[in-house]
């Protein structure tokens, strides 16, 4: 009865046809003086706080890059840790300006979710991790296993599809928070831990006995992870998207954190001049200063540097560039030209 009444009221209000004004996120952010960035509650290599609440990671560095583009200072970011359940509502309600939280780009999230993905900062796929002692070497041998995962994610859906497609039974044990999923796996509530493969490598490091766990070779899904913004704010969408492209272009042109000043002064390459704001008004077009890429590079370095620093082979995670290499090196990372 109550629901009926409410839907009637909702219907009436609908016919009244009150249009909503779209808020300009960039103005809000500039007025506030900080960028509010939604990140995960702790995923090594992507967004992870230390004891003093200093955040590091690939997703975190992307937020810093956006902040640097706006304010010229990569430190003007406020990181809001979000779990999988809250992340979209936090973005839609304006609690955060950009969601950079290893979030998978899907069609329905773009079309019905009221948000837009600005790019793919990391090409990932869903994988499985098991204890070595189980002697499992393929995901196809997981029939009858208990699988730990996070609720409300694409992971949960892919898992159901995969086991169904391969005619295997399983028991799903799903939790709201990532740390609970890992704790449940660690304590033996389930045999298998599943999430994006990058996440598996990261979470594996949190286990007390890293060497006893192995990530299975199968990748069962496409998980393009990237930053998300609210729908219907093109200016803000462009800023976030082109921050990402600028990071890629800088790597492609060989402009790094260390050599950017020198490149700006001495480079004869017109592409570098456009990127670094010596030629054209590309920054103005985005609503920021023309030297925006200089500021980004000073704060975080280019995409390659961010990758290597946070998840690359030199780090504890030791992830190869693989599909995340630039298109020139046979990867998928490709930026449209700045001109």
């Amino acid at each position: 009865m109550k629901l009926k009444l409410l839907s009637a009221v909702i219907g009436t209000a609908l016919t009244m046809g009150v249009a909503g004004a779209s808020a300009a996120t960039l103005d809000d952010v500039k007025a506030r003086g900080t960028l509010k960035c939604g990140v995960s509650q702790g995923l090594i290599g992507f967004s992870n706080p230390d004891e003093q609440n200093n955040w590091t990671g690939l997703d975190v560095d992307f937020c810093r890059a956006v902040a640097a583009a706006i304010f010229g200072d990569g430190k003007k970011v406020e990181f809001v840790p979000l779990d999988a359940t809250q992340r979209f509502e936090a973005l839609k309600s304006g609690e955060v300006d950009v969601l950079s939280r290893n979030t998978t780009w899907t069609m329905s999230r773009d079309t019905t979710g009221g948000m837009t993905f600005a790019g793919v900062t990391y090409y990932d796929g869903q994988g499985f991790m098991v204890k070595k002692s189980l002697g499992v070497d393929s995901a196809l041998k997981l029939n009858g296993a208990s699988v730990c995962t996070q609720t409300g994610t694409t992971t949960e859906l892919n898992l159901a599809d995969y086991f169904r497609a391969n005619n295997m039974t399983y028991q799903v044990v799903a939790f709201q928070k990532n740390e609970e999923v890992l704790a449940a796996y660690n304590e033996g509530r389930c045999d298998v831990y599943t999430t994006d493969q990058s996440g598996l490598y990261a979470e594996r490091l949190k286990l007390p006995d890293v060497e006893n766990h192995v990530v299975l070779p199968e990748i069962i899904s496409k998980e393009p992870l990237g930053p998300v913004v609210r729908q219907n704010d093109t200016q803000w969408f462009n800023l976030v998207r082109w921050t990402y492209y600028a990071l890629l272009t800088a790597e492609e042109l060989g402009v790094t954190q260390a050599n950017s000043a020198e490149q700006l002064a001495s480079s004869t390459n017109p592409e570098v001049a456009r990127l670094l704001g010596k030629e054209g008004d590309f920054g103005k077009g985005l609503g920021v200063e023309n030297d925006w890429v200089m500021k980004i590079l000073a704060a975080t370095g280019n995409y390659g540097e961010i990758f290597d620093r946070n998840v690359g082979e030199a780090t504890k995670l030791g992830i190869k560039r693989g599909v995340n290499s630039l298109w020139k090196s046979g990867g998928l990372q490709y930026a449209p030209p700045i001109r």
């Binding site: 509502e89 839609k92 309600s93 609690e95 709201q176 490091l205 949190k206 007390p208």
Partner: protein, 383 residues
């Protein structure tokens, strides 16, 4: 009368000598006979339950103190056996390392004095309110209800008087628990009083509205209210208007507990004799003057224990905010125990042990105080 007495053969004129009580009904032995072993079945129960309790209590002491690990830098200390064949017990090193985080959350280190100052003021005001002998209760109460929130806003949130602003997503631990619980109760008290008055109103629309409001909030679990506050409330507001997440949670908690508060206050209102209303009306007082000057002072005095009990359950319920992603005392202990530097079975166990101890000590002492007040207030009303 004297005639009948003459018929009795013997009348004792002196008191019989007092006999001592039977030996086995006095002293330790007597007490034990009476209280521990009155029947064989009882004796068996005493021995079994007593034995079980002693075994359990010893188990806790052994785990917490004898085998407890007091020093260490990381989880290694809590998983290495201290001696040959001895399992390490409670991981106190973890509690020590994370202690400040448990209290302040991620509140910036150099600003923590602000929290301390507020805590001292809060404790002082509370003591002045709680101890019956301290005078000026009314003024203290007004300062507590109106002054303290302003001071808390200035000190904790900052941004004025040269204090750096500290965003609420950095608040956590016991600080957050106290902020949510205290502001929840301070907000819900006036709302609850209004609802209770409305429920007893003679105006049907007001009455039914209040009944509906109270029963709806009392009929749903707090967790759905918190989900509503964190997910749905932003939808209710005009676009671009944004509220802080912690503030939304506090609003949800306050609305929820105001329904319970209303029922508590209603109990007090019902206990006021009708004569009080009639006398007030006979004196020519209008509704609000009658309510504010005659009825509420008496009714609220009666329900002080009820209000305290509502506060206790609200305090326990604040743990639910961890489900919607705030790091309260329990939430931050849990997060700390999942830290890869410390993660182990004993770490989690020690964390929960400390949490249980703190919540227990708080709720138990407050409920004792409530019982004490109940007794104190009850004497005044005995006729």
């Amino acid at each position: 009368m004297t005639q009948t007495r003459n018929n009795i053969a013997f009348v004792r004129t002196a008191d019989a000598p007092l006999l001592p009580a039977p030996r086995n009904m006095t002293g330790v032995v007597g007490w034990m006979r009476e209280n521990l072993f009155p029947t064989p079945l009882n004796a068996l129960a005493s021995v079994l339950i007593g034995g079980f309790l002693i075994w359990q209590i010893w188990g806790v002491i052994d785990w917490a103190l004898v085998r407890g690990v007091f020093f260490g830098e990381d989880r290694e200390a809590c998983i290495t056996p201290p001696r040959e064949g001895v399992q390490p017990g409670a991981c106190w090193a973890f509690i020590g390392a994370k202690f400040h985080q448990f209290i302040y959350g991620f509140y910036p280190f150099e600003e923590r004095w602000r929290v301390d100052v507020l805590a001292v003021v809060f404790a002082g005001l509370l003591a002045a309110l709680a101890v019956p002998r301290v005078p000026y209760k009314l003024y203290t109460g007004i300062t507590f209800v109106f002054g303290l929130p302003i001071l808390a806003e200035i000190l904790l949130y900052g941004g004025t008087f040269g204090l750096a602003a500290v965003d609420t997503n950095k608040w956590g631990g016991l600080l957050l628990t106290m902020v949510v619980a205290v502001s929840g109760i301070v907000l819900s008290l006036p709302l609850g009083v209004l609802l209770a008055l409305g429920r007893r109103s003679e105006m049907p629309i007001v009455r039914y509205f209040c009944i509906a409001f109270i029963e709806i909030w009392r009929g749903v679990p707090l967790i759905t209210v918190l989900f509503m506050a964190s997910i749905m409330l932003p939808l209710f507001l005009p676009q671009g208007m944004n509220t802080d997440k912690m503030l939304r949670i506090i609003i949800g908690v306050a609305l929820f507990s105001s329904a319970y508060m209303a029922e508590t206050v209603r109990g007090g209102l019902q206990a006021i004799p009708k004569g009080q209303y009639e006398a007030a009306k006979a004196l020519g007082l209008g509704y609000w003057r009658m309510t504010l000057l005659i009825i509420l002072p008496q009714a609220l005095k009666i329900v002080i224990p009820g209000i305290v009990n509502t506060f206790i359950s609200l305090f326990k319920d604040t743990t639910l905010v961890l489900v919607v992603g705030l790091f309260d005392f329990l939430g931050i202990i849990q997060a700390g125990a999942a830290d890869q530097k410390w993660v182990s079975a004993e770490t989690a166990r020690s964390g929960y042990f400390v949490a249980a101890l703190v919540y227990w000590a708080f709720c138990f002492s407050v409920s004792r105080y409530s019982i004490h007040m109940e007794r104190r207030l009850a004497t005044g009303h005995r006729r």
